[in-house]
Symmetry: C2
Subunit: 200 residues, 2 copies
């Protein structure tokens, strides 16, 4: 059987989210079939990304630049700040082209269970940034979990005590596009019901 580099590569691949030991083996076999077109380019791109990608010190985004392209983009609305808990969430909002302001990436949600307090998730930096920048609105795009709600509530309270007035909003809750009522959980249905709006 195979050894050394092959086993190492398989074991490391298996640690990626979405892959397990078996799919990592399948992936390695695919890669070995396409060494020059896929395997070596992937190895090089991973090494290059590991070297080049930085965390933006302003917003927490990942980019080849620091500050990142979004923070540097003068065409974006600098008075609206969207708070997310993961870089992946920022990318999702960008993919949807849902927002043309700037972002702030927290290090997760507050969590009593996992021992993440305001300091651990970088809330002090967010409050300082809100104090410093000419913001008119902070949009909380936080996960719909209990921890996400507690985090949103906490941020809203802290922002309410700023020396200036800032609107704090959160993303609407409701039925997802194409979502079928039967399959939705009770919490979503209740939230969608409470937030019902005129149909015309």
């Amino acid at each position: 059987m195979a050894e050394s580099a092959l086993d190492r590569a398989t074991q490391l691949l298996a640690r990626l989210p979405g892959l397990g030991p078996r799919s990592a083996k399948r992936a390695i076999l695919q890669l070995l079939k396409r060494r020059d077109s896929l395997m070596l380019p992937l190895a090089e791109a991973l090494a290059a990304a590991a070297r080049e990608i930085r965390t933006c010190e302003t917003c927490g985004n990942l980019d080849v630049r620091n500050p990142c392209a979004i923070c540097l983009d003068r065409a974006r609305n600098s008075s609206a700040l969207c708070v997310v808990t993961e870089v992946a969430d920022l990318w999702a909002l960008e993919r949807a082209a849902a927002f043309r302001g700037r972002y702030h990436v927290l290090g997760g949600t507050l969590s009593a269970l996992d021992g993440r307090g305001p300091e651990e998730i970088g809330l002090t930096a967010l409050i300082a940034r809100a104090e410093r920048e000419p913001l008119s609105e902070v949009i909380l795009a936080l996960p719909g979990t209990l921890d996400g709600q507690i985090t949103g509530h906490y941020i809203a309270e802290r922002l309410a005590s700023l020396s200036k007035e800032v609107d704090v909003t959160r993303l609407a809750q409701g039925i997802p596009l194409g979502g079928e009522i039967t399959y939705l959980d009770d919490g979503t249905l209740t939230a969608a019901f409470r937030a019902r709006r005129p149909a015309l």
Copy 2:
């Protein structure tokens, strides 16, 4: 947003079986969080594997050596040859420790639709090997698909016309271990029924 190496790495990762564009993004974010413990080692292991791993010219296995460790292992039974269509199948049988003979990896199954004939999947080499080596049994461990059955039938016929006598067997078909009757397809059930054996 991110650029260059990051996008390239994401796009290449998304081409792996089991990953799509979204899970590739999640994987890249995980990797960037663990650059030194995961991302750079993975890049190095992939590059090393691409350089070091060879195809065994005797059996078609992938290994750092050619001939591979299995072909070189004198403790293995050299009179039994197990024919598979994928290196992944060889690895699965080795994982199960189901067999202690040697292997022959074909380049897939015969397929009229995909235009794979005996030459394309390396059957001539298999027949030549069977002629040359002191084999007493050839075990066909081929996929349970129609193409797999046709391929098995074809190989059995070719081996029957060798200048010497070789037993040609195939893996038993039946209910998988832990398989629930309700969820099995008709073909498996029929095969399991036909191949029924005394219960004691």
